[in-house]
């Protein structure tokens, strides 16, 4: 068996080109490029003034498993494949959170020969966007507590402040805290908690705003809590939406980097794919469309989560639609959905694929509900056998769904050419995109529609608390918002252990959280962790810097 290099080794061997060259090739006007070092830049989008509207290829996946599917890797790889085919292409990705970097090994910049560069810097502070969001979030928290402390003119109930502080770190100790202790000069005591930065509503607002004016308006609409007489209090009531926008103004410019093969990539914004919508910023996607004929972008987790939200939340806000959809699948993941343990994945097991394939089947059915024909990227692993591949290929033929093997991890763009060609066929065929539900439906019905049509559940059950919240939502005129489902990514159901294609289940909605700035209602099923913890042996223990300032042990 070939000895494979690590992602960092491959990245270090790759030649990273000056970002000004990449920008020029991408057709970005020189005065729109603000370099951050030699290999990253921010783009002043007001100076990108073409009339082009490139087509959108959305990359999603089957229900993820611990085996790893390589969705970002395929997203990068197919972009390089389009470039290989002489197409004008740009990739738009989410930016990684710094927190998890110190917990588990593994970045969010693709892998093997299908990576974006410079991976170290993208995985660390990356032009400061997440720091700006942390700062804006915590400035707002300070403004709220200061308002209460300084007389509380708005009559905010400290027990009903919903706005949490954030930190871009895995820190379980901050999940539940009490602040304002120490007497009258140290604020008003109240229960509080910290989320990880990517879970901040500001991250969602940032990614769902079309420009800086839109951003300010949406920030102003965020509900930070309730008065003693239960009226919502917004950022606009506090009068600080201008200051928050000021904190975010530079971060709002999308970040330009490159793939190993020199394809231009915009990496910008990275909201959670459970309590938020899990897609890169609208501004990045739209800027890429002005510059390239084909824009490849991804959504978080499986198609039941990220892709559904792309269609029903992001596409609406941005007034865009996917022109083609790629569903990433692997034989290893299909086997896990067929009941094979992670330790047994390297052994051939065609039998397990027969039930495992039903997971993929349901994803394909779902995506067809949106009127866009999906293409399957079967992402090759060295342990896959011919018999296994043949089984999946035959199944695809029976289903009438396009499927291509991809070897982008090992071969970069060349390994994705077959996939790119199939996607081009879809792009050349008019698709009939439609949303899953109408905004005019009440929130309860929107949730029922998603749960039944996308998850395959019998029905939705609202817990007592959620039932009451449905009334608050109606009373406050929030029924017009789309729904942002917060569900385990591992199953179509709300039980992470129900793999494959579960049937005969209900989905319970525990709580509803109105995100009036992002413009959606989060529906929580089960426990959704908004602040991760560190493992016993954090990856940080292996990290170092050599005397020349080079990162060691980052990945």
């Amino acid at each position: 068996m070939t000895k494979y290099l690590s992602d960092l080794e491959i990245a270090n061997q790759a030649t990273v080109r000056p970002i000004l060259e990449i920008a020029e090739e991408a057709g970005i006007p020189a005065d729109a490029v603000e370099p951050y070092g030699h290999f990253k830049a921010k783009i002043d989008t007001s100076k990108v003034t073409t009339n082009k509207e490139g087509k959108i290829v959305l990359v999603t996946a089957m229900s993820p498993t611990p085996a790893g599917e390589g969705k970002s890797t395929v997203t990068v790889g197919i972009s390089d494949a389009f470039k290989e085919l002489g197409k004008s292409v740009m990739v738009a990705l989410r930016e990684p959170s710094l927190g998890p970097v110190f917990g588990m090994k593994g970045g969010a910049t693709g892998g093997g020969r299908a990576q974006v560069l410079p991976m170290e810097e993208i995985n660390l502070h990356f032009n400061g966007d997440l720091h700006a969001i942390t700062t804006a979030n915590n400035a707002l928290a300070a403004f709220i507590d200061n308002h209460i402390y300084q007389g509380n003119q708005l009559n905010i109930d400290p027990r009903r402040v919903e706005w949490k502080r954030v930190i871009d770190m895995n820190d379980r100790t901050l999940r539940q805290v009490v602040v304002g202790l120490g007497g009258p000069f140290k604020g008003v005591p109240r229960e509080d908690g910290f989320d990880i930065t990517v879970a901040s509503e500001i991250m969602a607002v940032f990614c769902l705003s079309n420009n800086i004016t839109d951003l300010k308006e949406n920030l102003g609409k965020m509900t930070i809590g309730y008065t003693y007489d239960r009226k919502p209090v917004t950022v606009k009531d506090l009068g600080v939406e201008g200051a928050l926008t000021l904190i975010l103004k530079d971060a709002l410019k999308p970040n330009l980097v490159q793939t190993i093969e020199g394809t231009p990539a915009l990496i910008h914004g990275g909201p959670f794919a459970n309590i938020a919508h899990g897609c890169n910023s609208i501004i990045a996607t739209k800027t890429a469309r002005k510059l390239a004929d084909i824009v490849v972008t991804e959504s978080g987790f499986g198609s039941d989560l990220g892709a559904e939200k792309f269609m029903d939340i992001k596409a609406r806000k941005a007034d865009i639609k996917p022109d083609a959809i790629v569903v990433v699948a692997t034989i290893r993941a299909l086997k896990m959905h067929g009941g094979v343990a992670k330790t047994e994945l390297s052994n051939e097991n065609v039998e397990s694929l027969k039930s495992g394939i039903q997971n993929l089947e349901k994803h394909i059915e779902n995506l067809r509900l949106f009127g866009v024909e999906p293409v399957i990227a079967l992402n090759n692993f060295v342990t896959d056998t011919d018999a296994e591949r043949e089984f999946v290929q035959n199944w695809a033929k029976e289903q009438g769904v396009k499927l291509a093997l991809t070897e982008v991890w090992e071969h970069g763009g060349k390994g994705g050419v077959e996939l790119a060609k199939l996607v081009l066929e879809v792009l050349e065929t008019p698709q009939d995109f439609k949303h899953l539900y109408d905004l005019s439906m009440p929130v309860e019905e929107k949730i029922r529609t998603i749960v039944q049509k996308i998850y395959g559940a019998d029905d939705v059950v609202f817990a007592e608390k959620a039932r009451k919240q449905l009334k608050t939502i109606a009373d406050n005129g929030w029924n017009e918002y789309p729904v942002c489902m917060a569900k385990t990514q591992y199953s179509f159901s709300d039980d992470p252990k129900k793999l494959g294609r579960p049937t005969g289940f209900n989905v319970t909605i525990r709580e509803l959280i109105p995100k009036t700035g992002a413009g959606f209602i989060v529906a929580l099923t089960g426990d959704i962790m908004t602040m991760p913890g560190l493992p016993k042996e954090p990856a940080a223990l292996k990290m170092d810097v050599d005397a020349d300032g080079n990162a060691v042990g980052l990945f």
Copy 2:
């Protein structure tokens, strides 16, 4: 009376030149310049390899008052004056904290015609240095709590964790908190608190390290708390000094900007001047020395605090010395020290100067203890009268101390030429620099020396707690460290109300905090605030961004 423009208006009218031009003029090799946008850059110091060792002009001040002395303004102005005189000059300044920006109006980038540009960006995220320090600080906090949660192999006593979390925000509500609540999966509960980022020991370590290897070593030496049997626990014990260095590696490169008149400026690091030493980074100062014949740098608060620490802490760590010292004074401040109320400062009052001048006199006496002859910059204000100026000038003549009027706020470098010429005279005369105390003296004696010689106190009194800590310091072998006094900046004494030149007082040391990474022992006198609060009407309420993305109401 002339109508004066605001600092922001002046800054906006100024022509800011491309940073690559400024870098080239400053003799920085092109491959050492990492642009951050068009007007800021980071410098890869490993590529600045001259043998030059420019002379150091240290700018300090009399005891500050609410009237404002304009120390940063004079620091910038005299640099421009040296340029005006055809000298090779670079200015090295501290970088501002973002927190206070949203509280009170006012930046830290000089004023009038003596400013550094681009002021907006310097006062907001400025290349992410403070964010990196916040991140490193809070990563360490997460690693500590995770260690305790995951079995606590090091036997850390959660009640004796001294490492606090930080946030770059004025947020009184976080001063005293309880973390780890919510049951066994949310950590181990303990009392905690947040400081503002600039109060983090990491900021001090960052500024007192000579290079990245030194940084890693110093980070490793930081004491984070004590075991159940009272043994100090260091970052090295936790094994995360490499990860912290990785977080800081880009921030460690000094930031290049320019003054309104195009003088190159390195702005890098900004530790508190009470619980830390209050000077910009050693790396910035040393890099500037490699590039310019004259390096102008400032220290925090009055000479009793920042300058003393420059001499006894920074100069030792960096193996440098000041070749000339400028003491900034104003007639308004002298009048306040002479008992005039802030509201009465615009009225002529020569009588008050007679007692007020004693404050300046003591600063001059003190600085002469270090063997370097100080030069007074009497920073002009429109309300100063001829009689007042004459009084101060005559006094200076009697004292045999050089004094120049400066009008850098109004006239930029031209307004500082007289001052620059006097400083050049000092630079051309050999000075006999010496530290105030020997490192071999015990901490108690070092404190007594500072308190008696610099503050003019009768003696030092150690509170019960501090008395015990002197023993811990001796037991742990920490007596070799210099002392970092944390005292009110408004008075030579520990009582902020005792203006002028107080006599017949003792200074009480409440607590001693060993900062074994920064390499000093903080001696706390009175209450030192390490987390500011916001005022009733925060400056944030007036801040905004227009549709073109320009800041409004920042200053």
